[in-house]
Symmetry: C2
Amino acid sequence: MSLRHQLSINHYSVRQMTLEQLVDGCQKNSISHLGLWRDRVHEIGTERTKELVANAGLKISSLCRGGFFPYDNEKQRQQRLEDNRRAIDEAVLVGASLVVLVCGGIGNAGLSASRRMVEEGIAELVPYATERAVRLGIEPLHPMFAADRSVIVTLAQANDLAALFPREVVGVVIDAYHVWWDPDLEKQVKRAAGRILGFHISDWILPIPDILNGRGLMGDGYIELAAMAAMVRKAGFHGAIEVEIFNQEFWQLPGDRALKLIKKRFEETFSGNQK
Amino acid sequence: MSLRHQLSINHYSVRQMTLEQLVDGCQKNSISHLGLWRDRVHEIGTERTKELVANAGLKISSLCRGGFFPYDNEKQRQQRLEDNRRAIDEAVLVGASLVVLVCGGIGNAGLSASRRMVEEGIAELVPYATERAVRLGIEPLHPMFAADRSVIVTLAQANDLAALFPREVVGVVIDAYHVWWDPDLEKQVKRAAGRILGFHISDWILPIPDILNGRGLMGDGYIELAAMAAMVRKAGFHGAIEVEIFNQEFWQLPGDRALKLIKKRFEETFSGNQK
Protein backbone atom coordinates (compact mmCIF):
# COMPACT_ATOMS: atom_id res chain seq x y z
CA MET A 1 0.00 0.00 0.00
CA SER A 2 1.50 3.33 -0.96
CA LEU A 3 1.31 6.21 1.45
CA ARG A 4 -0.77 8.09 -1.07
CA HIS A 5 -3.65 5.95 -0.02
CA GLN A 6 -3.18 6.76 3.63
CA LEU A 7 -3.81 10.49 3.36
CA SER A 8 -7.08 11.91 4.58
CA ILE A 9 -7.94 15.60 4.22
CA ASN A 10 -9.84 17.16 7.05
CA HIS A 11 -12.25 19.69 5.55
CA TYR A 12 -11.08 22.44 7.92
CA SER A 13 -7.57 22.23 6.41
CA VAL A 14 -9.06 23.66 3.24
CA ARG A 15 -12.15 25.34 4.54
CA GLN A 16 -11.98 27.81 1.64
CA MET A 17 -13.49 24.94 -0.40
CA THR A 18 -17.11 23.83 -0.33
CA LEU A 19 -17.65 20.13 0.26
CA GLU A 20 -18.39 19.68 -3.46
CA GLN A 21 -15.13 21.38 -4.37
CA LEU A 22 -13.25 19.32 -1.84
CA VAL A 23 -14.66 16.02 -3.10
CA ASP A 24 -13.78 17.06 -6.62
CA GLY A 25 -10.28 18.07 -5.50
CA CYS A 26 -9.75 14.73 -3.78
CA GLN A 27 -10.61 12.89 -6.97
CA LYS A 28 -8.31 15.04 -9.08
CA ASN A 29 -5.47 14.58 -6.64
CA SER A 30 -6.00 10.89 -5.92
CA ILE A 31 -6.80 11.49 -2.27
CA SER A 32 -8.87 8.63 -0.90
CA HIS A 33 -10.11 9.83 2.50
CA LEU A 34 -11.95 12.80 3.95
CA GLY A 35 -12.50 14.17 7.43
CA LEU A 36 -15.88 15.91 7.55
CA TRP A 37 -17.17 18.73 9.71
CA ARG A 38 -20.80 18.90 10.65
CA ASP A 39 -21.24 22.60 9.83
CA ARG A 40 -20.04 21.99 6.30
CA VAL A 41 -22.20 18.88 5.98
CA HIS A 42 -25.21 20.92 7.10
CA GLU A 43 -24.62 23.32 4.20
CA ILE A 44 -25.53 20.64 1.67
CA GLY A 45 -27.34 18.11 3.84
CA THR A 46 -26.43 14.59 4.94
CA GLU A 47 -28.08 12.90 1.96
CA ARG A 48 -26.21 14.94 -0.62
CA THR A 49 -22.99 14.46 1.35
CA LYS A 50 -23.38 10.71 1.40
CA GLU A 51 -24.11 10.60 -2.31
CA LEU A 52 -21.21 12.89 -3.23
CA VAL A 53 -18.70 10.94 -1.19
CA ALA A 54 -19.96 7.57 -2.39
CA ASN A 55 -20.03 8.57 -6.05
CA ALA A 56 -16.47 9.78 -5.75
CA GLY A 57 -15.39 6.51 -4.14
CA LEU A 58 -14.08 8.34 -1.09
CA LYS A 59 -13.96 7.08 2.47
CA ILE A 60 -14.74 9.14 5.55
CA SER A 61 -12.09 8.94 8.26
CA SER A 62 -14.03 10.98 10.82
CA LEU A 63 -16.87 13.36 11.49
CA CYS A 64 -16.00 16.42 13.60
CA ARG A 65 -17.35 16.85 16.14
CA GLY A 66 -19.23 15.96 19.27
CA GLY A 67 -18.29 16.69 22.86
CA PHE A 68 -18.45 19.91 24.88
CA PHE A 69 -19.88 18.01 27.81
CA PRO A 70 -19.40 20.37 30.79
CA TYR A 71 -22.60 22.23 31.55
CA ASP A 72 -23.81 24.91 33.94
CA ASN A 73 -27.37 23.68 34.40
CA GLU A 74 -29.69 20.80 33.55
CA LYS A 75 -31.09 22.44 30.43
CA GLN A 76 -27.60 22.88 29.05
CA ARG A 77 -26.73 19.31 29.92
CA GLN A 78 -29.73 18.05 27.94
CA GLN A 79 -28.96 20.33 25.00
CA ARG A 80 -25.41 19.12 24.80
CA LEU A 81 -26.36 15.47 24.99
CA GLU A 82 -28.96 16.07 22.32
CA ASP A 83 -26.38 17.69 20.09
CA ASN A 84 -24.11 14.70 20.58
CA ARG A 85 -26.90 12.33 19.65
CA ARG A 86 -27.46 14.39 16.51
CA ALA A 87 -23.76 14.08 15.70
CA ILE A 88 -24.07 10.30 15.96
CA ASP A 89 -27.18 10.36 13.78
CA GLU A 90 -25.40 12.47 11.19
CA ALA A 91 -22.46 10.07 11.20
CA VAL A 92 -24.86 7.26 10.34
CA LEU A 93 -26.52 9.33 7.63
CA VAL A 94 -23.30 10.30 5.86
CA GLY A 95 -21.66 6.91 6.36
CA ALA A 96 -19.00 7.84 8.92
CA SER A 97 -18.09 5.32 11.61
CA LEU A 98 -16.30 7.76 13.90
CA VAL A 99 -17.37 10.90 15.72
CA VAL A 100 -14.48 12.91 17.16
CA LEU A 101 -15.11 14.23 20.66
CA VAL A 102 -13.69 17.60 21.66
CA CYS A 103 -14.69 17.29 25.26
CA GLY A 104 -15.25 20.93 26.24
CA GLY A 105 -13.71 23.50 28.56
CA ILE A 106 -14.28 24.48 32.16
CA GLY A 107 -17.84 25.01 33.35
CA ASN A 108 -18.89 27.12 36.32
CA ALA A 109 -18.34 24.14 38.59
CA GLY A 110 -14.60 24.21 38.01
CA LEU A 111 -11.95 21.99 36.48
CA SER A 112 -12.40 18.74 38.42
CA ALA A 113 -16.18 18.80 38.19
CA SER A 114 -15.97 19.56 34.47
CA ARG A 115 -13.77 16.51 34.00
CA ARG A 116 -16.36 14.39 35.77
CA MET A 117 -19.05 15.84 33.47
CA VAL A 118 -17.07 14.66 30.47
CA GLU A 119 -16.99 11.14 31.85
CA GLU A 120 -20.72 11.22 32.60
CA GLY A 121 -21.51 12.66 29.21
CA ILE A 122 -19.63 9.93 27.37
CA ALA A 123 -21.31 7.31 29.56
CA GLU A 124 -24.70 8.69 28.50
CA LEU A 125 -23.79 8.48 24.83
CA VAL A 126 -22.27 5.02 24.75
CA PRO A 127 -25.53 3.04 24.44
CA TYR A 128 -26.79 5.37 21.71
CA ALA A 129 -23.53 5.07 19.78
CA THR A 130 -23.37 1.31 20.29
CA GLU A 131 -26.83 0.78 18.81
CA ARG A 132 -25.85 2.79 15.76
CA ALA A 133 -22.38 1.24 15.34
CA VAL A 134 -20.69 4.63 15.56
CA ARG A 135 -17.46 4.95 17.48
CA LEU A 136 -16.57 7.84 19.75
CA GLY A 137 -13.00 9.09 19.60
CA ILE A 138 -11.80 11.10 22.60
CA GLU A 139 -9.31 13.65 21.34
CA PRO A 140 -7.08 15.16 24.00
CA LEU A 141 -6.39 18.79 23.09
CA HIS A 142 -3.24 20.76 23.80
CA PRO A 143 -3.19 22.05 27.41
CA MET A 144 -3.43 25.61 26.09
CA PHE A 145 -7.07 24.78 25.33
CA ALA A 146 -7.84 23.41 28.80
CA ALA A 147 -9.94 26.40 29.87
CA ASP A 148 -12.08 26.90 26.79
CA ARG A 149 -12.13 23.76 24.65
CA SER A 150 -11.05 20.58 26.35
CA VAL A 151 -10.42 19.68 29.95
CA ILE A 152 -8.99 16.47 28.49
CA VAL A 153 -5.43 17.48 27.72
CA THR A 154 -3.20 14.41 27.70
CA LEU A 155 -3.30 11.07 25.99
CA ALA A 156 -2.92 9.44 29.42
CA GLN A 157 -6.15 11.09 30.48
CA ALA A 158 -7.93 10.13 27.25
CA ASN A 159 -6.72 6.54 27.69
CA ASP A 160 -7.98 6.48 31.28
CA LEU A 161 -11.34 7.76 30.13
CA ALA A 162 -11.65 5.40 27.16
CA ALA A 163 -10.78 2.44 29.39
CA LEU A 164 -14.04 2.96 31.28
CA PHE A 165 -16.02 1.97 28.18
CA PRO A 166 -16.13 -0.92 25.71
CA ARG A 167 -13.28 -0.78 23.24
CA GLU A 168 -15.69 -1.47 20.39
CA VAL A 169 -17.28 1.91 20.99
CA VAL A 170 -14.91 4.34 22.68
CA GLY A 171 -11.32 5.03 21.72
CA VAL A 172 -8.91 7.92 21.28
CA VAL A 173 -7.96 10.24 18.47
CA ILE A 174 -4.31 11.27 18.55
CA ASP A 175 -3.56 14.66 17.04
CA ALA A 176 0.16 15.31 16.78
CA TYR A 177 -0.30 19.05 17.34
CA HIS A 178 -1.99 18.44 20.66
CA VAL A 179 0.30 15.78 22.14
CA TRP A 180 3.77 16.08 20.57
CA TRP A 181 5.28 17.82 23.61
CA ASP A 182 4.32 15.03 26.05
CA PRO A 183 7.27 13.23 27.69
CA ASP A 184 4.89 10.33 28.31
CA LEU A 185 3.79 10.08 24.67
CA GLU A 186 5.45 6.86 23.58
CA LYS A 187 4.20 4.99 26.63
CA GLN A 188 0.68 6.31 26.19
CA VAL A 189 0.55 5.52 22.47
CA LYS A 190 1.50 1.93 23.33
CA ARG A 191 -1.14 1.90 25.99
CA ALA A 192 -3.72 3.13 23.47
CA ALA A 193 -3.13 0.09 21.25
CA GLY A 194 -6.45 -1.24 20.02
CA ARG A 195 -8.18 2.02 20.92
CA ILE A 196 -6.61 4.39 18.40
CA LEU A 197 -9.42 5.51 16.12
CA GLY A 198 -7.70 8.37 14.36
CA PHE A 199 -4.35 10.03 13.86
CA HIS A 200 -4.24 13.72 12.87
CA ILE A 201 -1.23 15.72 11.81
CA SER A 202 -0.06 19.29 11.26
CA ASP A 203 3.01 21.08 12.62
CA TRP A 204 3.97 23.34 15.52
CA ILE A 205 5.43 26.48 13.97
CA LEU A 206 7.22 29.45 15.52
CA PRO A 207 6.38 32.17 16.09
CA ILE A 208 2.86 30.89 16.72
CA PRO A 209 0.68 33.03 14.41
CA ASP A 210 -2.48 32.45 16.47
CA ILE A 211 -3.46 30.20 19.36
CA LEU A 212 -6.44 28.62 17.64
CA ASN A 213 -5.56 28.93 13.98
CA GLY A 214 -1.80 28.85 14.00
CA ARG A 215 -1.02 25.30 12.98
CA GLY A 216 1.63 24.77 10.36
CA LEU A 217 2.04 22.60 7.32
CA MET A 218 3.96 19.39 7.95
CA GLY A 219 7.68 20.04 7.70
CA ASP A 220 7.50 23.71 8.67
CA GLY A 221 7.81 23.15 12.40
CA TYR A 222 9.06 21.09 15.28
CA ILE A 223 6.94 17.96 15.42
CA GLU A 224 8.73 14.72 14.57
CA LEU A 225 5.82 13.41 12.55
CA ALA A 226 7.45 10.40 10.92
CA ALA A 227 8.55 9.08 14.32
CA MET A 228 5.11 9.68 15.78
CA ALA A 229 3.41 7.97 12.84
CA ALA A 230 5.71 4.99 13.34
CA MET A 231 4.66 4.82 17.02
CA VAL A 232 1.00 4.94 16.08
CA ARG A 233 1.41 2.30 13.37
CA LYS A 234 3.32 0.09 15.81
CA ALA A 235 0.39 0.40 18.21
CA GLY A 236 -1.80 -1.12 15.52
CA PHE A 237 -3.45 1.88 13.90
CA HIS A 238 -3.53 1.39 10.15
CA GLY A 239 -6.19 3.87 9.15
CA ALA A 240 -5.69 6.96 7.03
CA ILE A 241 -3.68 9.81 8.48
CA GLU A 242 -5.81 12.91 8.60
CA VAL A 243 -4.23 16.26 7.88
CA GLU A 244 -5.89 18.89 10.03
CA ILE A 245 -4.34 22.32 9.67
CA PHE A 246 -6.05 25.38 11.08
CA ASN A 247 -4.20 28.31 9.61
CA GLN A 248 -5.55 31.67 8.46
CA GLU A 249 -2.83 32.13 5.88
CA PHE A 250 -3.29 28.68 4.44
CA TRP A 251 -7.00 29.35 4.08
CA GLN A 252 -6.18 32.26 1.76
CA LEU A 253 -4.68 29.95 -0.85
CA PRO A 254 -6.75 28.72 -3.78
CA GLY A 255 -8.22 25.41 -2.60
CA ASP A 256 -6.63 23.23 -5.24
CA ARG A 257 -3.21 24.71 -4.59
CA ALA A 258 -3.67 24.06 -0.86
CA LEU A 259 -4.62 20.43 -1.54
CA LYS A 260 -1.59 19.85 -3.75
CA LEU A 261 0.68 21.39 -1.12
CA ILE A 262 -0.74 19.18 1.61
CA LYS A 263 -0.29 16.11 -0.54
CA LYS A 264 3.29 17.02 -1.41
CA ARG A 265 4.23 17.66 2.21
CA PHE A 266 2.47 14.52 3.33
CA GLU A 267 4.53 12.45 0.93
CA GLU A 268 7.75 14.22 1.94
CA THR A 269 7.01 13.73 5.62
CA PHE A 270 6.66 10.00 5.27
CA SER A 271 9.00 9.34 2.36
CA GLY A 272 11.54 7.60 4.57
CA ASN A 273 8.84 5.70 6.32
CA GLN A 274 7.03 3.68 3.68
CA LYS A 275 5.98 0.19 4.28
CA MET B 1 1.93 34.28 60.15
CA SER B 2 -0.34 36.46 58.06
CA LEU B 3 -0.46 35.91 54.33
CA ARG B 4 0.85 39.41 53.85
CA HIS B 5 4.21 38.08 54.79
CA GLN B 6 4.05 35.34 52.23
CA LEU B 7 3.82 37.53 49.15
CA SER B 8 6.82 37.89 46.91
CA ILE B 9 6.82 40.17 43.88
CA ASN B 10 8.66 38.96 40.85
CA HIS B 11 10.27 42.00 39.22
CA TYR B 12 8.83 41.09 35.80
CA SER B 13 5.31 41.52 37.18
CA VAL B 14 6.05 45.21 37.43
CA ARG B 15 8.83 45.60 34.97
CA GLN B 16 7.78 49.21 34.42
CA MET B 17 9.62 49.88 37.71
CA THR B 18 13.37 50.06 38.18
CA LEU B 19 14.76 47.86 40.92
CA GLU B 20 15.11 50.92 43.15
CA GLN B 21 11.47 51.83 42.59
CA LEU B 22 10.41 48.28 43.26
CA VAL B 23 12.33 48.03 46.52
CA ASP B 24 10.82 51.33 47.58
CA GLY B 25 7.35 50.11 46.57
CA CYS B 26 7.77 46.91 48.56
CA GLN B 27 8.63 48.88 51.68
CA LYS B 28 5.68 51.21 51.25
CA ASN B 29 3.30 48.30 50.71
CA SER B 30 4.72 45.98 53.39
CA ILE B 31 5.81 43.39 50.86
CA SER B 32 8.61 41.29 52.30
CA HIS B 33 9.97 39.28 49.37
CA LEU B 34 11.28 39.91 45.90
CA GLY B 35 11.96 37.75 42.85
CA LEU B 36 14.85 39.25 40.92
CA TRP B 37 15.76 39.09 37.25
CA ARG B 38 19.35 39.15 36.17
CA ASP B 39 18.88 41.75 33.41
CA ARG B 40 17.41 44.19 35.92
CA VAL B 41 20.13 43.40 38.46
CA HIS B 42 22.75 44.09 35.76
CA GLU B 43 21.32 47.59 35.31
CA ILE B 44 22.46 48.62 38.78
CA GLY B 45 25.02 45.94 39.58
CA THR B 46 25.05 43.09 42.09
CA GLU B 47 26.64 45.13 44.85
CA ARG B 48 24.07 47.90 44.71
CA THR B 49 21.29 45.30 44.50
CA LYS B 50 22.49 43.51 47.60
CA GLU B 51 22.77 46.76 49.53
CA LEU B 52 19.34 48.02 48.44
CA VAL B 53 17.59 44.80 49.33
CA ALA B 54 19.39 44.43 52.64
CA ASN B 55 18.78 48.03 53.69
CA ALA B 56 15.10 47.60 52.95
CA GLY B 57 14.97 44.42 55.02
CA LEU B 58 13.69 42.44 52.02
CA LYS B 59 14.30 38.80 51.25
CA ILE B 60 14.98 37.37 47.81
CA SER B 61 12.79 34.41 46.88
CA SER B 62 14.54 33.67 43.59
CA LEU B 63 16.87 34.89 40.90
CA CYS B 64 15.61 34.41 37.32
CA ARG B 65 17.13 32.77 35.46
CA GLY B 66 19.55 30.12 34.34
CA GLY B 67 18.91 27.23 31.99
CA PHE B 68 18.63 27.16 28.18
CA PHE B 69 20.77 24.04 28.07
CA PRO B 70 20.15 22.59 24.59
CA TYR B 71 22.97 23.56 22.23
CA ASP B 72 23.85 23.12 18.57
CA ASN B 73 27.62 22.92 18.94
CA GLU B 74 30.38 22.70 21.53
CA LYS B 75 30.99 26.44 21.59
CA GLN B 76 27.36 27.08 22.37
CA ARG B 77 27.39 24.39 25.03
CA GLN B 78 30.33 26.10 26.76
CA GLN B 79 28.72 29.53 26.47
CA ARG B 80 25.52 28.33 28.04
CA LEU B 81 27.26 26.58 30.91
CA GLU B 82 29.32 29.70 31.47
CA ASP B 83 26.19 31.82 31.58
CA ASN B 84 24.69 29.45 34.14
CA ARG B 85 27.81 29.68 36.29
CA ARG B 86 27.50 33.46 36.10
CA ALA B 87 23.88 33.17 37.23
CA ILE B 88 25.03 31.17 40.26
CA ASP B 89 27.78 33.72 40.97
CA GLU B 90 25.27 36.56 40.75
CA ALA B 91 22.94 34.73 43.14
CA VAL B 92 25.77 34.59 45.67
CA LEU B 93 26.60 38.26 45.13
CA VAL B 94 23.06 39.54 45.63
CA GLY B 95 22.26 37.09 48.43
CA ALA B 96 19.81 34.80 46.62
CA SER B 97 19.81 31.11 47.47
CA LEU B 98 17.82 29.98 44.43
CA VAL B 99 18.39 30.22 40.69
CA VAL B 100 15.33 29.37 38.60
CA LEU B 101 16.10 27.19 35.58
CA VAL B 102 14.11 27.70 32.40
CA CYS B 103 15.58 24.73 30.64
CA GLY B 104 15.47 25.80 26.99
CA GLY B 105 13.71 24.78 23.80
CA ILE B 106 14.49 22.34 21.03
CA GLY B 107 17.97 22.38 19.52
CA ASN B 108 18.90 21.12 16.06
CA ALA B 109 19.30 17.61 17.44
CA GLY B 110 15.57 17.35 18.17
CA LEU B 111 13.30 16.98 21.17
CA SER B 112 14.68 13.84 22.84
CA ALA B 113 18.30 14.87 22.43
CA SER B 114 17.48 18.34 23.77
CA ARG B 115 15.95 16.76 26.85
CA ARG B 116 19.16 14.79 27.40
CA MET B 117 21.13 18.03 27.04
CA VAL B 118 19.10 19.55 29.87
CA GLU B 119 19.96 16.65 32.13
CA GLU B 120 23.65 16.85 31.20
CA GLY B 121 23.69 20.61 31.66
CA ILE B 122 22.25 20.42 35.15
CA ALA B 123 24.71 17.63 36.02
CA GLU B 124 27.55 19.94 34.98
CA LEU B 125 26.26 22.74 37.19
CA VAL B 126 25.53 20.79 40.34
CA PRO B 127 29.08 20.77 41.78
CA TYR B 128 29.45 24.50 41.08
CA ALA B 129 26.12 25.28 42.74
CA THR B 130 26.85 22.96 45.68
CA GLU B 131 30.15 24.71 46.46
CA ARG B 132 28.37 28.06 46.48
CA ALA B 133 25.31 26.91 48.44
CA VAL B 134 22.96 28.01 45.66
CA ARG B 135 19.99 25.84 44.79
CA LEU B 136 18.79 25.15 41.27
CA GLY B 137 15.03 25.12 40.74
CA ILE B 138 13.81 23.31 37.62
CA GLU B 139 10.68 25.10 36.42
CA PRO B 140 8.50 23.11 34.04
CA LEU B 141 6.96 25.49 31.52
CA HIS B 142 3.57 25.18 29.87
CA PRO B 143 3.67 22.76 26.91
CA MET B 144 2.97 25.67 24.56
CA PHE B 145 6.58 26.69 25.22
CA ALA B 146 8.06 23.26 24.47
CA ALA B 147 9.57 24.29 21.13
CA ASP B 148 11.16 27.59 22.06
CA ARG B 149 11.62 27.86 25.82
CA SER B 150 11.49 24.64 27.74
CA VAL B 151 11.52 21.02 26.70
CA ILE B 152 10.65 20.37 30.36
CA VAL B 153 6.88 20.75 30.34
CA THR B 154 5.38 18.78 33.21
CA LEU B 155 5.98 18.60 36.93
CA ALA B 156 6.39 14.82 36.54
CA GLN B 157 9.29 15.44 34.20
CA ALA B 158 10.83 18.07 36.49
CA ASN B 159 10.50 15.69 39.43
CA ASP B 160 12.17 12.89 37.46
CA LEU B 161 15.00 15.21 36.56
CA ALA B 162 15.44 16.63 40.06
CA ALA B 163 15.52 13.12 41.51
CA LEU B 164 18.80 12.48 39.69
CA PHE B 165 20.55 15.05 41.90
CA PRO B 166 21.01 15.74 45.61
CA ARG B 167 17.90 17.27 47.14
CA GLU B 168 20.03 19.86 48.91
CA VAL B 169 20.92 21.36 45.55
CA VAL B 170 18.28 20.58 42.91
CA GLY B 171 14.54 20.98 43.25
CA VAL B 172 11.54 22.24 41.34
CA VAL B 173 9.76 25.55 40.97
CA ILE B 174 6.01 25.20 40.50
CA ASP B 175 4.36 27.97 38.52
CA ALA B 176 0.58 27.70 38.55
CA TYR B 177 0.28 29.16 35.05
CA HIS B 178 2.47 26.42 33.62
CA VAL B 179 1.02 23.38 35.38
CA TRP B 180 -2.59 24.10 36.37
CA TRP B 181 -4.08 22.03 33.50
CA ASP B 182 -2.24 18.84 34.47
CA PRO B 183 -4.51 15.94 35.51
CA ASP B 184 -1.50 14.51 37.32
CA LEU B 185 -0.83 17.70 39.30
CA GLU B 186 -1.86 16.68 42.80
CA LYS B 187 0.13 13.46 42.64
CA GLN B 188 3.19 15.23 41.30
CA VAL B 189 3.02 18.01 43.90
CA LYS B 190 3.00 15.34 46.60
CA ARG B 191 5.90 13.63 44.91
CA ALA B 192 7.81 16.92 44.87
CA ALA B 193 7.62 17.19 48.67
CA GLY B 194 10.96 18.28 50.04
CA ARG B 195 12.05 19.49 46.61
CA ILE B 196 9.72 22.45 46.11
CA LEU B 197 11.90 25.52 46.01
CA GLY B 198 9.39 28.03 44.73
CA PHE B 199 5.72 28.57 43.99
CA HIS B 200 4.71 31.16 41.40
CA ILE B 201 1.23 32.39 40.64
CA SER B 202 -0.75 34.36 38.06
CA ASP B 203 -3.93 33.42 36.20
CA TRP B 204 -5.02 31.89 32.89
CA ILE B 205 -7.28 34.41 31.23
CA LEU B 206 -9.46 34.18 28.14
CA PRO B 207 -9.17 35.20 25.44
CA ILE B 208 -5.40 34.81 25.75
CA PRO B 209 -4.06 38.26 24.89
CA ASP B 210 -0.61 36.95 23.92
CA ILE B 211 1.18 33.62 24.20
CA LEU B 212 4.21 34.93 26.05
CA ASN B 213 2.84 37.98 27.81
CA GLY B 214 -0.79 37.13 28.34
CA ARG B 215 -0.91 36.06 31.97
CA GLY B 216 -3.65 37.46 34.11
CA LEU B 217 -3.98 38.86 37.58
CA MET B 218 -5.08 36.35 40.19
CA GLY B 219 -8.84 36.08 40.22
CA ASP B 220 -9.35 37.08 36.59
CA GLY B 221 -9.08 33.59 35.16
CA TYR B 222 -9.47 29.86 35.56
CA ILE B 223 -6.72 28.68 37.87
CA GLU B 224 -7.86 27.41 41.25
CA LEU B 225 -5.02 29.11 43.06
CA ALA B 226 -6.13 28.65 46.66
CA ALA B 227 -6.49 24.91 46.14
CA MET B 228 -3.12 24.71 44.45
CA ALA B 229 -1.46 26.73 47.21
CA ALA B 230 -2.98 24.34 49.75
CA MET B 231 -1.46 21.38 47.85
CA VAL B 232 1.93 23.03 47.78
CA ARG B 233 1.79 23.92 51.46
CA LYS B 234 0.72 20.38 52.30
CA ALA B 235 3.77 19.14 50.42
CA GLY B 236 5.90 21.13 52.84
CA PHE B 237 6.63 24.32 50.96
CA HIS B 238 6.36 27.27 53.32
CA GLY B 239 8.28 29.91 51.40
CA ALA B 240 6.86 33.11 49.99
CA ILE B 241 4.46 32.83 47.06
CA GLU B 242 5.88 34.70 44.12
CA VAL B 243 3.51 36.62 41.86
CA GLU B 244 4.84 36.47 38.33
CA ILE B 245 2.55 38.11 35.79
CA PHE B 246 3.72 38.80 32.26
CA ASN B 247 1.12 41.07 30.77
CA GLN B 248 1.57 43.97 28.37
CA GLU B 249 -1.49 45.77 29.65
CA PHE B 250 -0.48 45.40 33.29
CA TRP B 251 2.92 46.85 32.46
CA GLN B 252 1.23 50.04 31.30
CA LEU B 253 -0.06 50.80 34.81
CA PRO B 254 1.85 53.12 37.12
CA GLY B 255 4.12 50.81 39.11
CA ASP B 256 2.75 51.63 42.51
CA ARG B 257 -0.81 51.05 41.37
CA ALA B 258 0.22 47.69 39.90
CA LEU B 259 1.85 46.70 43.21
CA LYS B 260 -1.23 47.63 45.22
CA LEU B 261 -3.43 45.68 42.83
CA ILE B 262 -1.24 42.59 43.10
CA LYS B 263 -1.30 42.81 46.87
CA LYS B 264 -5.07 43.21 46.99
CA ARG B 265 -5.68 40.27 44.67
CA PHE B 266 -3.15 38.16 46.51
CA GLU B 267 -4.99 38.73 49.77
CA GLU B 268 -8.36 38.04 48.17
CA THR B 269 -7.09 34.85 46.57
CA PHE B 270 -5.95 33.42 49.85
CA SER B 271 -8.44 35.03 52.21
CA GLY B 272 -10.24 31.73 52.86
CA ASN B 273 -7.00 29.90 53.18
CA GLN B 274 -5.11 31.51 56.04
CA LYS B 275 -3.28 29.50 58.58
